[in-house]
């Protein structure tokens, strides 16, 4: 019997702690698939965030480091200085990256750190039971926007790729989603491109992934996927925002 699809070796054989239908599992699996396919387990170092993906090191069979909430870009910078030829990536949620860690991501981007950022935008703080994130949609109800996020009090959802694009230090920025097998394939390509950017020493890459949090969106998982297509990607348009290969 020949395997058409098997658990990636770099994905540890265990059940995950994520809620049913959570996007984190998909993203971590994609990373594991690339690590397998490219044979880079021995030269890859990952950063786990504080957020629902905090236990990423329980699933990815590579050297990994925890970072305090919001600080993966700085911790990754410290690692990269020691191992400039390794592939260092930081995995971050939207609270982690776009709220408490705003200064760290902006300055890592501005320094043009040759690191890949995998930014899981699920429009909510999953880990702490569903409060507003900087990327929460207008009107979206969360534990801290019981009447729905409104622009006047809470501001507009932050478009991270577009914000970072202003900085000269960024090389590759793309927004993708997990809403369908097709989109998941594109997400994998985007992560590959991020790693490639780093391997070729082209500098800062960030892949923003629109990812479902069915629990705190109060939707069933398939509904959540539709919500990404129908609502979320209107605020956060999919596509390449910056690409060093295309700049003239």
């Amino acid at each position: 019997m020949h395997a058409l699809y098997e658990k990636p070796k770099a994905f540890i054989d265990t059940a995950t702690h994520f809620c049913p239908g959570c996007g984190h599992g998909i993203v971590l699996r994609l990373i594991a698939e690339i690590i397998d396919a490219w044979g880079i387990r021995g030269k890859t170092i990952g950063l786990a965030p504080v957020g629902c993906a905090v236990l990423a090191y329980n699933y990815l069979d590579i050297d990994m480091c925890e970072a305090a909430h919001g600080r993966p870009p700085a911790v990754a910078t410290g690692i990269k200085r020691v191992h400039p030829d390794h592939i260092v990536f930081a995995y971050q949620g939207d609270g982690d990256l776009a709220a408490i860690g705003t200064a760290e991501i902006i300055h890592a981007a501005n320094r043009g750190e040759n690191i890949t950022f995998i930014f899981v935008n699920n429009a909510v703080y999953g880990m702490t039971n569903g409060q507003m994130a900087p990327t929460t949609l207008l009107g979206q109800k969360t534990a801290t926007t019981p009447a729905g996020r409104d622009m006047a009090n809470c501001g507009h959802p932050i478009r991270v790729c577009e914000l970072l694009a202003v900085l000269e230090g960024t090389s590759y920025l793309e927004r993708v989603s997990l809403s369908s097998p097709e989109n998941i394939r594109k997400t994998k390509k985007a992560i590959e491109k991020g790693f490639k950017t780093q391997i070729e020493k082209k500098g800062f890459s960030l892949i923003e992934i629109l990812s479902p949090c069915p629990i705190y969106w109060r939707m069933d998982p398939n509904e959540a996927m539709r919500h990404i297509d129908e609502e979320m990607s209107r605020t956060f348009p999919l596509g390449v925002v910056k690409n060093w290969e295309q700049t003239n």
């Binding site: 699809y5 059940a15 995950t16 049913p20 998909i26 398939n222 996927m225």
Partner: protein, 67 residues
């Protein structure tokens, strides 16, 4: 014709794999796994051409495909 293996205790019954299968080969099972959740199962006599969409969609690495 491919064969699907679902890891019962990894599957959380999220059903993301169900609509993506053009053969409608996956359905929720009645059984309860160790975590008290209903996993999906491969529908009896269903078709599978190994397109992998279900596995690509699965957030819990619960599906493996063989032929």
């Amino acid at each position: 014709m491919a064969v699907i293996r679902i890891k019962e205790n990894y599957c959380k019954g999220c059903l993301l794999c169900v609509p993506v299968c053009h053969n409608k080969s996956l359905v929720l099972s009645d059984s309860i796994n160790d975590y008290g959740l209903h996993p999906v199962k491969f529908r009896e006599d269903a078709e599978c051409d190994g397109c992998k969409k279900c596995a690509i969609m699965c957030p819990d690495v619960a599906i493996e495909i063989y032929n």
